[in-house]
């Protein structure tokens, strides 16, 4: 009875779930962390990492994305040898980069190159959230900029899949300068009449939202994608209020006029192909 007036302790849910991959019990089954449905693992993977029950789109690595969108064997990577620099001499940064290079087999948080979509050559970039959450340091900014410049020189349509936590804090101001660098390159591409399509995938935030992600002639997004400038935690601390349901999700941005179209993963290639056709490719 003594505890009758005790305040019930509720479990506080994170607004953005930290665990983005569905939990994988060893074996043949995975459990969707969104709806709780148990899915046959093979079905989950053959379904492009989408839960068959609630349609949640889980994050994809860059190589799966490339094989999903580009014609078979058409991808030719660029600038794979650019080396990350530790401009602030930030402790542990070199080691972290080295470890990620080994575990992901990527040189940085974005993969760029050229490829074909239904036979049409495109300049293609895809960010990989496994590499420091796809954050933009100097190498990511440089690879994106070189891709834009190549698209400008060769009059190629430019397609970038974003997935990023924003600017790379460990590279300080040099990371901030990448916002201006990529946006300036896009200005020239735009003046040259190039077609730029961005596909926003989970998560697209911070300095990437505040630069090349939101500058597409056409902005597509996968269902449920987090898209924002500030993170929900920072916003809640600033305004001292709870955030509405669905805030900063792709559907919310579409409703507010910042996304052209939400496209399910399985239909992205077809949509891109159609948009290329409509621009005379």
């Amino acid at each position: 009875m003594a505890n009758i007036f005790k305040k019930t302790k509720y479990v506080k849910m994170n607004v953005v779930s930290k665990q983005e991959a569905p939990s994988v019990p060893s074996g043949l089954w995975v459990k969707c962390n969104n709806c709780g449905e148990v899915i046959y693992k093979e079905d989950f993977h053959s379904n492009l990492k989408i839960c068959g029950s609630c349609e949640k789109h889980f994050r994809l690595d860059s190589s799966t994305r490339i094989s999903m969108v580009l014609d078979e064997d058409s991808f030719e990577p660029m600038d794979e040898d650019l080396q990350t620099r530790n401009v602030l001499d930030f402790p542990g940064y070199d080691k972290k980069i080295k470890g990620l290079k080994e575990s992901t087999h990527l040189n940085e948080g974005v993969v760029t190159g050229t490829g074909a979509i239904d036979g049409n050559k495109v300049a293609f970039g895809v960010m990989d959230s496994r590499f420091m959450m796809g954050s933009m340091g100097a190498v990511v900014g440089e690879k994106i900029t070189r891709l834009i410049e190549k698209a400008t020189e060769e009059s190629l349509p430019l397609i970038i899949f974003t997935a990023s936590g924003g600017a790379r804090m460990q590279e300080g101001i040099i990371s901030l300068m990448q916002l201006a660098k990529t946006s300036a390159a896009l200005s020239r591409f735009n003046d040259a009449g190039g077609l730029y399509i961005t596909v926003l995938t989970d998560p697209t935030s911070g300095g990437v939202t505040a630069s090349f992600a939101m500058l597409g002639d056409i902005i597509l997004a996968e269902p449920g994608t987090f898209i924002g400038f500030a993170g929900p935690r920072v916003i809640m601390q600033t305004i001292k209020q709870e955030l509405p349901e669905g805030f900063q999700r792709a559907e919310f941005l579409k409703e507010h006029g910042f996304v052209d179209k939400i496209v399910a993963r399985a239909e992205i290639k077809e949509t891109l192909s159609q948009l290329l056709m409509l621009h005379g490719f």
Binding site: L82, V87, L88, D89, F90, A138, V139, G141, E142, T145, A167, M169, Q170, E171, G172, I173, I174, S175, L176, M177, Q178, L179, A180, K181, S183, A184, A185, L186, S187, R188, N190, D191, G206, G207, T209, A210, S211, F212, A213, M214, L215, I227, G228, F229, A230, V234, I235, T238, I239, Q241, L243, P244, F247, Q248, H256, G257, F258
Partner: protein, 260 residues
């Protein structure tokens, strides 16, 4: 002097604000309001004035002097409409061939619910893209705090200068400490590694000039600083105006392209 001392100086309550500089540097100032889309954002002051007799467009982040004004100006943290007002005035400057001078003094773009609804990221991105190819000279002076994308959205320029005790960084030292040390009280340590002082940024080639603050800081030597800035601006604008526009834009592109 420690970087943290510069941070404190940049935030000193007596430090001159954009409104002080506008009065001291320019004549005939006419403030122009609104983004023509949604509203007027008081965190950014924009308008036309003369500098040594020459018409210029002035765009400046303003924190506000007293509490009432600080609240009205949202402590100098702009919403998307502030950046859209800035862009409107910059396009206007381009149309009439006026050089643009921007004064940066913000902790960052506002992180509010409405700011997200109205596309804070898009507004900043649009400014970065458009400023990179505006066909008139742009000079930016960071007078206090230059916080992240919210500062950069007014700082894609031909020349970026900083006052000696101003700071310019990817994030506030508190935010940086919170993310990388998981402890926002370690802001002091963060400031020392972030390379956010004018001297650090000059060495990194992020800025072209450090404007001296004699004495303990700008609050003690404002008149001398203002006179110095006026002379520097008049001189540099004449240098930029003498350049063919294509060369100026090529240099501006290279100014940001070099960071690898």
């Amino acid at each position: 002097m420690k970087a943290w001392d510069r941070v404190l100086n940049a935030r000193n309550v007596n430090r001159p604000l954009s409104s002080d500089y506008i009065k001291a540097l320019f004549d005939d100032f006419v403030e122009l309001h609104g983004d023509r889309l949604y509203k007027d954002d008081a965190a950014i002051i924009g308008g036309i004035a003369t500098l040594g007799g020459m018409p210029v467009t002035v765009i400046a982040q303003e924190k506000g002097k007293n509490l009432k004004e600080k609240v009205r100006r949202n402590f100098g943290s702009p919403n998307p409409e502030g950046y859209r007002k800035s862009l409107r005035l910059m396009k206007q400057a381009e149309k009439f061939g006026r050089p643009i001078i921007t004064l940066v003094d913000t902790q960052g773009a506002y992180c509010g619910l409405g700011a997200e609804e109205r596309g804070q990221g898009e507004a900043i991105a649009r400014n970065l893209m458009e400023m990179s190819s505006l066909k008139v000279p742009i000079i930016t002076i960071v007078i206090g705090e230059g916080g992240s994308g919210g500062a950069l959205a007014l700082a894609v320029a031909d020349r970026v200068w900083m006052l000696e005790n101003a700071i310019y960084s990817i994030l506030s030292p508190e935010g940086f400490a919170s993310i990388l040390y998981k402890d926002s009280t370690k802001a002091k340590e963060a400031a020392e590694v972030m390379k956010l002082t004018a001297q650090d940024l000059y060495e990194l080639d992020v800025i072209e000039k450090i404007i001296e603050e004699p004495g303990a800081g700008a609050h003690e030597s404002f008149e001398a600083i203002a006179l110095n800035i006026t002379a520097l601006l008049i001189e540099e604008i004449s240098v930029l105006k003498a350049m063919p526009i294509e060369d100026m834009l090529e240099e501006r592109y290279a100014r940001y392209r070099k960071f690898l």
